[in-house]
Amino acid sequence: MSRLLHSLYLIVLFIVIIFTILLLISPEPVMAFEDFVTGPFSNIYNTGNLFAIAAILIICGTGVSISFQAGLFNLGGEAQIYSSALVGTLVGLALPEGSGFFGILVVIIISMITGAAIATISGFLRYRYHIHELISSFLLSGGLLSLTDFLISNTFRDSKSFLQTTSKLPESFYLPSILPPSNLTITILIACTVACILWFWLYKMAGGYEMRVFGLNKDFAEFGNISSRRYTILPLMINGACFGLAGALMILSTQHAAIVGFSAGYGWNGIVIALIAANNPIMTIPAAFLLAWVETGTRTAMAGSSVSLEMSEVIRGMILLMITLRFFKNRRSRS
């Protein structure tokens, strides 16, 4: 019971803080607050988008959970999404126009392979040369982000478009829509399936068991003859493949073309989701909805009342800070 009261107390605090910020920065704080809270549910479009954002976040969060469970830190999510989305898009553009389902499948698989390959480099460096994957994935990501920016805005740029983007994929590559006119497609189903499969693997199958042991206690893993090579590389590979999948789904369902910087932030948000969900793939689903709600809420607050872009970022940052603080506080031990 005290736990519930504690949660309530925090929610009240949470609301007071958001409201205070809005009071300070918005000419119409009450309306802005209302838009923030109810905006995501005020029409089908926003609700659909909330689901669409949540779907991508679930996939990213699940992927990060896997590498976290193995005790590995993949900070290269940004590039793993972005670069693999570009590769997927280019492959899609190279395929015949009416490729349909087959084309979608090829784009998804190619993107997943690309994401996995990028992440695997860090895993290999960790295993073979003891270079910490935290550093290598981050640095690699920095380089790849710039390279991808360059490729989109130069080499593969659609010269007919006013945006810095590749050409659009033909319509046969669009994923079936669920809640038109919103961006929601079957991604949410794919995302939940991925989360469930990985949860099952993690908790119900020998491979996942071995990986968790490896993440929790390397000595115990060695005691049980668990291959450290496999579980240094495989989790990052899965993580990278998830990011690749997220990138491909964003292209196939929402963007239909690789636009410069379109996926910015999802790599980091994946980490936030994994932290909130305590690295449990199933729990990434509510965690992703929470974050998607914050995301859509800030957007609707911005659309509905005069909250500037920077201020909406501040509010979102505050909320994320509070959420993560809350979950870190729970984990802190007494000493």
């Binding site: 983007t165 379109f262 449990n280």
Partner: protein
């Protein structure tokens, strides 16, 4: 000594997970209750949303858009104005404008950017009853979209002519080589088809031997890259540069100032950016144009579906001659020649 304490048992993940659920559930409950109490807007008001594809502050063209919209809204009591910044992620613009349209509350959404007609047309397919006004863009035959653009070719010709005068002049920073520079944020159709050719044509009106050095930064914010490109141009013999690269312009000005060469400005009065370095400036009256268009929209007289192009004769494009920094830094001979060209175009 912490390591001499006995530790608490680690909390199980299940509890954390349970808490997440409780937390989320309570929030959703709160959302549900507050949406029940939501009131309807009064029907007779006229709502205008200004969608800025980027950030207002620091961008003259968007500042003018906002200012024009604000003065139009101030004239009418029943008009509500809402300015929304879309941020620099181009991939999110369509979604953000869609979510504006999705509210169904906006009588018109006004935005400005050559890329926006395409995006608005896409959103219009999803929300067919929504009206759009796109400034600085061009799209014909969509009966819910009104576009208005400035004749950028003419504007570029004005800049180009001054560039030609400067590079062939006796001014201190001008060299013997007849090369002028244009640095763009990125290559896009209007840039390649209108601005760059216009700029060169203006210069060739002074001397047919003048050549153009054109480069693109690749984005609209990287001042360091802007400066780098400017330096490369300068070492190749360029002595006057027109930057159209957003935030990267600043880097070009810095590099030009260091090398003692000249910079021209596009779209807004830029003399004060670096007196003596910025020696010419064209401007568009986006604020007035926005005001005029919105007044028509509020009055219900705006012909949606039309695509208007405003030229020099309309008065919405000018070359700023009456700035003190222009008259004091640019020799009279050059100014006279430029004035003749300006009058000739009208």
């Amino acid at each position: 000594m912490f390591f001499l304490f006995s530790g608490n048992a680690e909390r199980s993940h299940k509890i954390t997970a349970f808490r997440t659920l409780t937390f989320l559930g309570l929030i959703l409950l709160g959302v549900f209750f507050s949406s029940c109490s939501k009131q309807e807007e009064p029907q007779d008001s006229f709502n205008i949303a200004v969608f800025v594809p980027g950030v207002v502050s620091g961008s003259p063209i968007y500042e003018m858009l906002a200012a024009g919209a604000q003065s139009a809204a101030a004239e009418y009591e029943h008009v509500n104005l809402n300015i929304i910044e879309g941020g620099s992620n181009q991939g999110e613009w369509e979604e953000k404008i869609s979510s504006l349209a999705a509210t169904g509350k906006q009588d018109v959404i006004i935005t400005s950017n050559p890329a926006m007609p395409g995006i608005c047309a896409a959103v219009s397919k999803k929300f067919p009853s929504q009206y759009f006004i796109v400034m600085d863009g061009y799209l014909e035959d969509n009966d819910h979209i009104y576009t208005l653009r400035y004749d950028q070719e003419q504007q570029a010709m004005l800049n180009g002519h001054l560039a030609g005068l400067v590079t062939s002049s006796e001014m201190e920073g001008a060299n013997d080589q007849l090369t002028i520079g244009l640095i763009a944020g990125q290559e896009y159709p209007d840039m390649l088809d209108l601005i760059a050719p216009g700029f060169l044509a203006g210069a060739k009106a002074v001397d047919d031997a003048i050549e153009l050095d054109f480069r693109a930064v690749g984005n609209w914010y990287d001042a360091a890259k802007g400066a780098e490109l400017a330096r490369a141009m300068i070492s190749a013999g360029v002595d006057v540069i027109l930057p159209i690269a957003g935030g990267a312009n600043q880097g070009v000005v810095t590099a030009a100032h260091e090398a003692g060469i000249y910079v021209l400005w596009f779209d807004a009065n830029g003399y004060a950016q670096q007196p003596g370095t910025v020696v010419g400036s064209t401007s568009i009256q986006q604020d007035t144009a926005t005001y005029d268009t919105l007044v028509k929209a509020i009055e219900g007289t705006l012909p949606y579906g039309e695509a208007v192009t405003l030229g020099l004769e309309s008065g919405f494009i000018t070359f700023i001659e009456d700035d003190e920094l222009y008259t004091s830094y640019v020799p009279e001979k050059v100014r006279t020649a430029q004035n003749e060209y300006l009058e000739g175009l009208k």
